[in-house]
Amino acid sequence: MAPRVAQRGCALITGGSGGIGAAVARGLAADGWAVAISYRSRAEAARAVAEQIGEAGGKATLLQADVSERGAAEELCGRAEQRFELPLLVLVNNAAVIADHPVVMLDDESWQAVLETNLSAAFRLTRRALPRMVSERFGRVVNVASVVGPRANPGQAAYAASKAGLVGFTKTVAVEVARHGVTANAIAPGLIETEATEDVRGAMLPRIPARRVGEPAEVAACARFLVSEAAAYVTGSVLTVDGGLSA
């Protein structure tokens, strides 16, 4: 019997120290993937995620990096492959920052910081990871976008631009590599229970048809599906996870 695909490679999740990224890391580890968890500054939280995975019988390693730096893609992908001695076959671009200001008050540095982390980093990591995925005839790129982007959200121009760009990027990658067994999809979460949404939950709740915030594990469930072999024919899609908010 051919080995399960999760035994053939490893996965890298950026922004994996908490919230959605941590849930995705735990989920993919439960599916048998050796997961490299990248984090920028929350070492303690990242360590806790890795420990949870280890206690559950999974494999995890931690990689510190600021994905907005140009050399980070090579560093992260290379180290993940070295530590597990496996090719990188799953890339989850989840790291994101926000800089919420009305456009007239949004400075160049904030704009650039958001675009670099949320969009350019995904580009560089994907560019680094794709050749090996093509060579292995299997690969999964999952980009964590947002319901913001296709829809406006006042005060989040940079974030919206980055996430809308990520969706366009995802679709283009999907078409370029579709014939080689490599898929690229985006997930568009709505209001999910993470630290980043703490302040806005109360105001948003009445607008959500499901009348509740989503759980990180519900986003992770979508990522697990998109990474699975069952999703081999799903590519270039955007899977919305928002309790009906954008329906």
């Binding site: 680094r128 050749p131 090996r132 093509v134 060579s135 005839r137 370029e176 590599v177 014939r179 080689h180």
Partner: protein, 99 residues
């Protein structure tokens, strides 16, 4: 020039030409420029061509080589310039394989 590898390259050229219906086909000749000239393949076409070549080598010669991975694509002096340089590169890769 290794004729068996050359035959595999020509198989990959046939596949590449199927995707170039609106462009002049690549000729099956050692001098043909594969990449890096206007008449050659673009970057995406090159990736697809290399994957087709990998499959032909595996199917017809029973050898597994990684041409479409990052190492080869990032070489300063590209082994993918012409059919002749590509055949030599594949020969080099096969020669490095153990046993």
């Amino acid at each position: 020039m290794n004729e068996r590898i050359l035959a595999c390259v020509y198989v990959a050229i046939d596949e590449a030409n199927e995707d170039r219906s609106d462009l002049p086909p690549l000729r099956k000749s050692p001098e043909t420029q594969i990449h890096g000239t206007k008449a050659g393949l673009d970057s995406l076409g090159l990736i697809n061509f290399l994957v087709a070549l990998e499959e032909a080598l595996e199917r017809d010669l029973g050898v597994t080589v990684a041409l479409s991975d990052d190492r080869a694509l990032l070489r300063e002096s590209s082994p993918f310039e012409s059919v002749e340089t590509l055949v030599a590169y594949v020969e080099e890769l096969i020669g490095k394989q153990p046993g």
